[in-house]
Symmetry: C2
Subunit: 240 residues, 2 copies
DNA sequence: ACCTGTCAACTGGCATGTCAGTTGACAGGT
DNA sequence: ACCTGTCAACTGACATGCCAGTTGACAGGT
């Protein structure tokens, strides 16, 4: 008789209540799992057993099957026929590709914003930047991460293209997970804020090339910080 | 040469045989439907009834449900609870956003390629360009469309980032469908080839700014041609 | 004519049963 | 010790049944 390995699953019972969201069961389950994977509640490699998840959510396997199919299409889980689906391992190659895409998209975004930005938008961005400073002073790492995300999301939304932030998120899923691993680093936020400020300043001065350059530099800072992850968390990476 | 009629719903029974591909039934069905939607075999607005599709494919509703869930996540079909899923209508807003993304991504691609391109890559691109000319001479519109696609795909693959073309396709699905509607236009291909040539020339000369400029110009040519579509095919567009 | 309440047929969401492919422990041969 | 064939339990893939929400035709009231 085989013994079920429980090590990685000990925190699975912290899944949010399904009643907290709307839509079909399958959609809600997808949302919960999506979030759990992105915030590393389900770290890379975690097996997703349909029967087990169904039992945990108090539903049948059907909606879980649907949710996992979508996660697989998004690339967040890997599923082979007849084999338990697993949360996709990180891979340095994927992170490089997503970084390239992020640079391409956010570069184009700030280039455009430098021409179209309004005073109201500048004000909101400025306020967010202040918030980032306050959160760093308070040592609220998680809060800073969210304000950082919001800064970038705001830039995307200010283009007036409202699917943009969704698309950008969709093609930087692995990167999002990897950045969770970088959260503990304390020194970085201060530099980040300076770089954000330079991007904003370029946009304010309507200096598109400067804004693009600042954004590329800012995003480029991520690359050298990603490299050590493969050594620090080898079990989260493919073939490791 | 045969042009596929796009408005004809009665030929839905021409769906390919499932045995022609690999993977689970759900994956194969997804692939068939995905292709059918992108090439307008299923035009925007087409209802996708699970029972009907299941019967047509000779399977049960379960794998069809999974396939449609994925299509919905991709944005190719719209599904509301208890309401028949429909192929997503086109919308000018979505096309604008996807054009922006395409410019951002392909611009970054050629900028990078201008620095890294090898002679072998230049040769393959040159050969593809010749092929485009031949196909235009033969009046093979569909063949030209595919060679055009391949030109852009090759550029993406030559970056060495092998998920890139997949990501790019993933965020330009609506655009892909709209471009099918532009196929009948006869004069355009010749201009397209000239523009492709300028992009390639920029890459060959390792002149990144020129290559980017040429690519942006090339992709920008699409915008004015998209606009009339909303008048020509109002029933394919949202609220129309 | 128009609006409105009702109802039957349709359709999708979910639960469940069955089956086949995969896995991994273990026994037996080398 | 190591390799290998075997087998039982595990797991996902798919079929099917049932129920609830939606829709659209139609009857009756205004």
């Amino acid at each position: 008789m085989r013994v079920k390995p429980v090590a990685e699953l000990s925190r699975v019972d912290e899944l949010p209540d399904l009643r907290s969201s709307t839509g079909s069961l399958a959609q809600r389950i997808h949302h919960v799992l999506h979030t759990a994977i992105l915030d590393l509640t389900f770290p890379p490699g975690t097996p997703l057993r349909k029967a087990e998840l169904a039992h945990r959510f108090g539903v049948s396997r059907a909606p879980v099957t649907e949710a996992i199919a979508i996660l697989a299409a998004e690339g967040l889980v890997e599923a082979m026929p007849q084999v338990t689906a697993r949360v996709t391992p990180l891979s340095m190659a994927a992170l490089r590709e997503e970084t390239f895409l992020r640079c391409a998209i956010e570069g184009a975004v700030v280039e455009r914003l430098a021409k179209t930005r309004t005073d109201a938008q500048l004000a909101r961005l400025g306020r967010n930047l202040r918030l980032q400073e306050l959160l760093v002073e308070d040592g609220d790492t998680r809060g800073f991460f969210e304000a950082d995300e919001e800064f970038h999301t705001m830039l995307q939304e200010f283009t007036g293209l409202d699917r943009l932030s969704g698309f950008a998120a969709q093609v930087t899923l692995q990167l999002h997970r990897a950045r969770q691993l970088l959260l503990p680093e304390a020194r970085r936020p201060t530099e980040t804020i300076v770089e954000h400020g330079e991007v904003l300043e370029g946009i304010r001065r309507q200096d598109a090339p400067a804004a693009v350059k600042a954004m590329r530099f800012h995003l480029g800072q991520l690359v050298p910080r990603l490299k050590p992850l493969e050594q620090t968390y080898p079990h989260y990476f493919r073939e490791g």
